[in-house]
């Protein structure tokens, strides 16, 4: 019978050695050069976001003299600080190709629980209160993680249910009541409103948290496993990664951050009722997506997500300063998300096409 002969693969052609008759085939240099901008954009999404942010600030400042001042800067940073911690948690979950919609309810219930703790034990040390909040958040994260890993419930469904369940518990517990700033010790309020060398403590806390998570994601095995799982769950399992365990941990981390955010929310606003933080989960998802964290998993980082949160925060303020109706704010946020996703898709397609060409014809 016949033996099967295989043909050798074409030897990659490098531009300098392309035979004369081939040059008609390769794209003229003038055509390839400008097409590289997308490579730059693709590799430097953060720089692009910074550029957009600066342009936005400059534009608004030109349009309104009331925009650039320290009070506005402080407001934006304080607003974004809490959101950005939640966004970091969301980033971790989204990297694994999951989502955590329950965070806003976790923030709400933690804020109320810690407030009640202060009411019950007036002399409670602040670190203990913070720890309690984080633990409550961890518990919420454990429930989400268990549903997703052991229960095999898709995370969208699982966390959508816990979003309602946690909020329901909150309503039943609060029962129309409210926590007031008067019940909270002054030292606690300093967590959010105090300054160190003119920088709000809350912003410093957020920076510290973001740095730790960002560093962990980049430099530790556990962090890389989040990427691996989102990039190809089956391959992650075959590579010996304990996928369920890692996914569980990711949800616990997201919950813990939501707990911390709940405590800081209480410290910042002082007044907490049953509808605290309602709806911020979508702001957080929006920030992550604008910060080019892929909903399909495996791509993104904490700093991009934070820039996304910052961009949304600055836009909101700009719209207020420019006296745009609040209804428009939502529409503009939505448009921004679409824009971010469209850019990502187009960029990755352009890059894929380019690498394909380069691969086949040894261009570039």
């Amino acid at each position: 019978m016949n033996s099967i002969v295989h043909m050798p693969k074409a030897i990659p052609i490098n531009s300098p050695t392309v035979p004369v008759e081939m040059t008609g085939l390769t794209q003229p240099a003038s055509k390839t050069e400008p097409s590289r901008w997308f490579l730059f954009l693709g590799r430097h999404r953060e720089s692009t976001l910074i550029a957009v942010l600066l342009a936005l600030i400059a534009g608004t400042a030109l349009a309104s003299p009331h925009f650039l001042n320290l009070q506005n800067l402080r407001d934006v940073l304080l607003n974004v600080a809490i959101i950005s911690m939640l966004t970091a948690g969301m980033t971790v979950v989204m990297l694994m190709r999951h989502i955590d919609l329950s965070i806003s309810s976790t923030v709400g219930i933690t804020a109320y629980a810690v407030g009640s703790l202060f009411v019950a034990i007036p002399g409670l040390p602040v670190p203990v209160a913070v720890l309690a909040g984080v633990l409550i958040g961890c518990a919420a994260g454990c429930i989400n993680g268990a549903l997703v890993t052991f229960g095999r419930v898709p995370s969208l469904v699982a966390t959508l249910s816990t979003l309602y369940i946690f909020r329901g518990i909150d309503y039943a517990w609060v029962h129309g009541g409210q926590i007031n700033a008067t019940s909270l010790p002054d030292s606690f309020a300093l967590l959010a409103n105090g300054d160190v060398l003119g920088v709000p403590v809350l912003v410093l806390i957020a920076l510290a948290v973001l740095t730790v998570i960002g560093y962990y994601l980049k430099h530790y095995r556990g962090g890389r496993e989040f990427y691996a799982i989102g990039s190809n769950p089956e391959a992650a399992n075959l590579a010996g990664i304990r996928v369920s365990r890692r996914v569980f941990k990711g949800f616990v981390l997201s919950g813990a951050l939501a707990g911390l955010a709940g405590v800081l929310w209480l410290a910042r606003f002082g007044t907490v009722d049953a509808s605290t933080a309602k709806g911020i989960e979508l702001q957080v998802v929006a920030a992550a997506v604008v910060g080019s964290v892929a909903i399909t998993g495996g791509v993104g980082n904490v700093w991009g997500a934070t820039l996304g949160a910052l961009l949304l925060g600055v836009i909101n303020l700009s719209l207020v300063v420019l006296k745009v109706s609040p209804f428009w704010q939502l529409a503009i946020q939505g448009a921004l998300i679409v824009l971010a996703i469209a850019t990502d898709t187009l960029l990755s397609r352009a890059i894929a096409r380019w690498t394909m060409k380069k691969r086949d014809h040894g261009e570039a």
Binding site: Y220, L238, A239
Partner: protein, 508 residues
């Protein structure tokens, strides 16, 4: 080889495994010794990959035992098998497209410094050296997304090698590689074998078995049916054991008098990819498009079908000009394209086989816009039977089929459209010998019924055995048009490498 005193490195005894109703393994046994390359052979769906996954700790066997160095053992998860020194190259790529090559290779085992941080510098240097020793021009920091199938396979190989394992299992590692890459892989395998590594090697290309392996285990329908030294076997006896019967003529070529032109391609050009491609395919004719991997053959097919854009030229189907760039119009005009990368481009892995098979003909099956599951199943069963598809029912998800059987589903799906012109890219990649003969027989039946076939193939015997005319492409141009009577390996290879040929019939 080893003396009887030392137990085999790995031994599987009477293993069985069910997936619901499907009995993937019934009685599988395998003995793997130090310093040998062992071939595991069998038809599509015989259970080879399932056996591999049991050795790798991916699946737990329902029965039987596993011995490592003579000690009974159970791998609860893949990390346990990795820890026991077993490295596996799976049939389907298992890479992380969003991570770098280096991270892909070292995922879960990255080198760390004192406080547990990943040492990217050490990792990338090690991978850089490994890639150089494999003779490929890849960079350690490069993303895996966008690599060709062959390059992805190289990364898989590097990953397995980096484990420094003493058992290496390779499930069809050569399916996507071409000759030089295969040779490089074999050289590495031989080096490892001489260093005492036990290697399990799965392939459907029997000449590779004779080239590389010392012993053979043949599986049929989930059971190991034959153990032998490679030197005791020949091609025909292996095939007979695999399929349980003798194969009749391998290339059932019949002479059909070509009819009118069914597909006419005129000066088709896509800048940077191919240029001035012109040829005709007549009814009843099989035209092979040969050439090196990367010569632009698949791209021409994709352009004709309207998937890729073109910069110039025209395509006529049955004499009517086809508007390019719209695959739906191509299907309506009677074109069918069976793509090369079937897993990615041809199958909806989560859908049942029947649904997959009917995707292309939904409009025809529908009655008042409703599609009956029964008609779907009948259609799938018809083509499944023709191609000897091995599946429990037509309702299981296509993703659970064995690699080769997935290919048959894609083939059936396009044949169901009853096209006038069939373009088929690498028709027999990953398909076992028995099924290959079926595919050839099907192609023969189709041209006898008046279909025109354009077959892209890198396997020369297939080209020589089946084609009425051989077009050879080199670097984006057609460099030769050879009639069946004059075709031979030397001429095709010469044209594929771009060496001088006699003047073309239809010079560009």
């Amino acid at each position: 080889m080893t003396t009887p005193a030392t137990p085999p490195r790995l031994e599987l005894r009477h293993a069985s495994k069910r997936f619901g109703e499907v009995r993937a393994l019934i009685d599988a046994s395998l003995t793997l010794r130090r310093g040998e390359v062992h071939a595991l052979l069998g038809e599509n769906g015989a259970g080879k990959s399932t056996l591999v996954k049991i050795l790798a700790g991916v699946h737990q066997p329902d029965g039987g035992e596993l011995l490592v160095d003579g000690q009974p053992c159970r791998f609860a998860r893949p990390s346990a098998a990795i820890a026991a020194g077993i490295a596996v190259i799976y049939q389907e790529p298992t890479l992380f497209p969003d991570l770098s090559i280096a991270e892909n290779i070292y995922m879960g085992r990255q080198p760390l410094d004192r406080i547990g941080r990943i040492r990217y510098d050490v990792m990338e240097q090690a991978v850089e050296e490994m890639l150089v020793s494999l003779g490929v021009q890849l960079k350690a920091a490069q993303l895996v997304r966008g690599l060709s199938i062959a390059d992805q396979q190289v990364v898989e190989i590097a990953k397995a090698l980096s484990l420094n394992a003493n058992v290496l299992i390779m499930d069809e590692p050569t399916a996507a590689l071409s000759k030089p890459e295969v040779e490089r892989l074999f050289a590495i395998a031989e080096r490892l074998r001489d260093a005492g590594v036990a290697i399990l090697f799965i392939t459907h290309r029997l000449e590779e078995v004779f080239r590389l392996t010392q012993r053979i285990t043949i599986m049929r329908d989930g059971a190991a049916v034959h153990f032998a030294a490679t030197s005791e076997m020949d091609h025909d006896s292996i095939v007979a054991k695999m399929v349980g019967r003798d194969l009749a003529t391998y290339y059932p070529k019949v002479d059909v008098v070509p009819g009118e032109v069914a597909l006419s391609v005129n000066k088709l050009t896509r800048r940077g990819v191919f240029k001035n491609i012109s040829f005709d395919v007549r009814r009843g004719e099989i035209v092979a498009l040969a050439g090196l991997v990367g010569a632009g053959r698949s791209e021409v097919a994709r352009a004709i079908f309207g998937i890729d854009p073109v910069d110039g030229g025209e395509v006529l189907v049955q004499g009517k000009r086809l508007q390019l760039g719209k695959p739906a119009l191509a299907v309506n005009a009677g074109l069918a394209l069976v793509p090369e990368d079937r897993r990615q481009q041809g199958l909806a892995l989560d859908l049942p086989i029947a649904r997959n098979a009917s995707l292309t003909v939904l409009a025809r099956l529908g009655r008042h816009g409703l599609i009956s599951a029964n008609t779907e199943r009948q259609l799938a069963a018809h083509w499944g039977g023709k191609l000897k598809l091995k599946a429990h029912t037509m309702d299981v998800a296509a993703g659970t089929l064995s690699g080769g059987n997935q290919q048959k589903v894609v083939l059936g799906k396009w044949l169901a459209t009853n096209p006038h012109v069939l373009i088929i890219d690498e028709p027999t990649r990953g398909i076992d010998v028995g099924a290959k003969a079926e595919v050839y027989q099907t192609l023969t039946d189709l041209v006898q019924a008046g279909m025109a076939v354009l077959m892209i193939s890198s396997e020369l015997p297939e080209v020589l055995g089946m084609a009425d005319r051989v077009l050879v492409m080199c670097e984006g141009r057609i460099t030769a048009d050879i009639p069946r009577s004059e075709a031979n390996e030397e001429r095709i290879m010469a044209a594929a490498l771009g060496q001088a040929e006699q003047p073309l019939r239809r010079a560009a």
